[in-house]
């Protein structure tokens, strides 16, 4: 059963990649564009920090560390969940009906149908940035650190993914949700790049409890960088990312199911 779905996932994703490679030039240009934009953003970050030296007590290396960590989670989320970018197309064009007549779970089918490899270029850039930042921050590689880092990246990817899923699901009520998803994607990406201590309390609470992107970079970084900056939140939050990811996974999936039930009773 599980093997069947893994195989099917790779077959469907492979079909998408092959379709995409029919337009090689556009594929190549988009990869190139992503890498360039990443480098520009990093340059901007460097320029800003060269002027201000530190951000709320965070050094350049530490901020780049946050940026690299957030960007890694972001790029994995974009590779695996890019179909959620414009999920509303499924409803506007009636493509969801085509999904519902297949003997596979709809969400699985939708996700597998588009695995966007252009974001691999972003992931590779992020890995490079992250490795350099890791080194600059003076963190020593141990097995514990490696495992914690991997769990953090995985949890971060999941947290970002579930936020995307929730905003895409809104389309099952409103028909359109593309703009909301775009907004949420860029907002979460920005929010993970800087220590949340730069924001007022209300925004910090929002980023912790409502759109929990602070668990993608900020709280886990407390552990990795040994910052000990908790802003009055429990210290346990530095280990909270996997729990938050699981809770968000359940919440977003239940939301998706109720959206689908609504679609079943109203159609498009």
């Amino acid at each position: 059963m599980v093997r069947r779905y893994i195989k099917l996932y790779f077959l469907l994703a492979g079909a998408y990649v092959r379709s995409r490679l029919q337009y090689r030039l556009s594929f190549g240009l988009m990869c190139f564009g992503i890498v360039i934009s990443e480098i520009c953003l990093l340059g901007l970050l460097g320029a800003l920090l060269a002027k201000f030296r530190t951000v709320n007590g965070w050094t350049w290396a530490e901020v780049v560390f946050l940026y690299g960590l957030g960007n890694l989670a972001y790029s994995f989320m974009r590779i695996l969940g890019s179909q959620l970018d414009d999920f509303d197309r499924y409803i506007i064009r009636g493509e969801l009906d085509g999904v519902l007549i297949k003997p596979v779970p709809p969400l699985f089918y939708i996700l597998a149908n588009r695995v966007e490899l252009i974001h691999v270029s972003r992931a590779l850039t992020s890995v490079a940035i992250f490795v350099v930042a890791f080194h600059l921050s003076g963190i020593r590689w141990t097995l514990d650190v490696a495992l914690f880092t991997l769990t953090t990246i995985l949890s971060g990817t999941l947290i970002m993914f579930t936020l995307m899923l929730i905003s895409a699901t809104v389309a099952l009520w409103t028909t359109k949700s593309g703009k909301l998803t775009d907004l949420l994607i860029s907002a979460t990406k920005e929010a993970t790049a800087f220590p949340i201590s730069i924001y007022p309390l209300a925004v910090r609470l929002l980023l912790t409890f409502v759109l929990p992107v602070a668990f993608v970079t900020y709280y886990p970084a407390q552990q990795l960088l040994q910052k000990g900056e908790f802003l009055g939140m429990p210290e346990l939050f530095q280990f909270g990312a996997p729990v938050v990811a699981l809770v968000m996974l359940c919440v977003s999936y239940l939301f998706w199911c109720s959206g689908l039930r609504r679609y079943h009773s109203t159609g498009s």
Binding site: R4, K7, L8, L11, L12, A15, R18, S19, R20, Q22, R93, G94, E95, D97, G98, L100, I101, K102, P103, V104, H264, S265, T266, G267
Partner: protein, 327 residues
């Protein structure tokens, strides 16, 4: 035992009324009033295995809504559906394994990939055993002459070729029921004929039960044995196609452009059904009066610029049934 049983099936949609203007908009977000649209209203029918049924009606009559409930996409508001012992919306996955669906307007194939790749993917999605897959692919490629374009990307196929591929895609997993939503829409005469012949053959040789919705009465005449007509969500006719034609389909329509707008038009054996400036629509029964007789009468009394004869369209037959009632 019937393969599909539908009892007192209804589907109602809430349509929210929007008021215009700023205050109207504001108040409709606070208290939304809605109308209930009865897309499908107390529909009953049952199909035996191997039947070939045309499900027709005007736009918005409730055809697609019924098909969507039968395929498990929509949950009925009330009523009962039994498809091969399953309730489609509750046992969606089991149901989809045993049915095939073709949407005429939307292809289920992978747009940028060669046709054969779509078939291969469907093999895995439906878990079709390799030998059955090979056997079916051979059978359909030969029947529909797919061989020349099996390795062509779907986006480069003509509409007719694509429909043939979509039909194959829907049948590879040996479904017991095939639902077709307007399979001949946009096709030329030759391609339409191919699709019709294919459907008859699949039905005869593989005992696939076929339900098709269409706007083209020719599809129904050439393919179906039985016809269900739905209008405003209610079934207004369910029976043999010959019976229907005998009763309602004898009417031909003569559309005439007169040289001037005659105030009073008098013709024998002919009904003046519509009039728009100099153009008039005349309905006549071909058993009682021939087209040439009608034209002779016309030319004798009026000056004519142009005329065309049209076969009865589904909309026209539905309208007549609706007006006259079913006897």
């Amino acid at each position: 035992m019937p393969i599909i049983t539908v009892e007192h099936l209804s589907k109602h949609f809430k349509v929210y009324r929007r008021r215009t203007g700023f205050w109207g908009n504001l108040s409709s977000t606070v208290s939304r009033k809605h109308d209930i649209i009865k897309a499908v209203d107390d529909v009953n029918f049952s199909l035996e295995r191997g039947e070939l049924v045309g499900y027709i009606g005007a736009n918005g009559a409730g055809k697609s809504t019924t098909i969507k409930m039968l395929t498990g996409i929509l949950v009925p508001t009330s009523g009962h559906i039994d498809v091969m012992g399953l309730t489609p919306y509750r046992q969606r996955k089991e149901n989809t394994r045993r049915i095939g669906v073709v949407f005429g307007q939307r292809t289920q194939l992978w747009w940028d990939l060669p046709v054969i790749d779509s078939f291969e993917l469907l093999k895995h999605i439906y878990e079709i055993p390799q030998n059955l897959y090979k056997q079916n692919l051979e059978f359909f490629s030969e029947m529909l002459q797919l061989q020349p374009f099996l390795s062509t990307p779907v986006r480069r196929l003509s509409l007719g070729q694509r429909m043939r591929c979509d039909l194959t895609a829907a049948l590879l997993h040996n479904p017991e029921i095939l639902y077709l939503d307007e399979p001949t829409i946009g096709l030329d005469v030759v391609a339409k004929e191919q699709v019709r012949q294919f459907l008859r053959q699949v039905n005869a040789e593989r005992q696939v039960t076929v339900i098709l919705t269409t706007h083209d009465l020719n599809d129904v005449e050439k393919v179906c044995q039985r016809l269900i007509i739905i209008d405003n969500g209610k079934i207004i006719y369910d029976g043999g196609i010959d019976d229907l034609k005998k009763r309602y389909g004898k009417t031909r329509m003569l559309i005439v452009d007169l040289a001037q707008a005659y105030s009073d038009i008098q013709l024998e054996g002919v009904d003046l059904t519509r009039r728009d400036g100099n153009r008039i629509w005349l309905a006549f029964d071909r058993d009682t009066i021939s087209a040439s007789e009608v034209i002779a009468q016309l030319t004798a009394r009026y000056e004519i610029q142009d005329l065309t004869i049209s076969e009865p369209e589904i909309e026209e037959i539905v309208r007549r049934i609706y007006e006259l009632g079913v006897h």
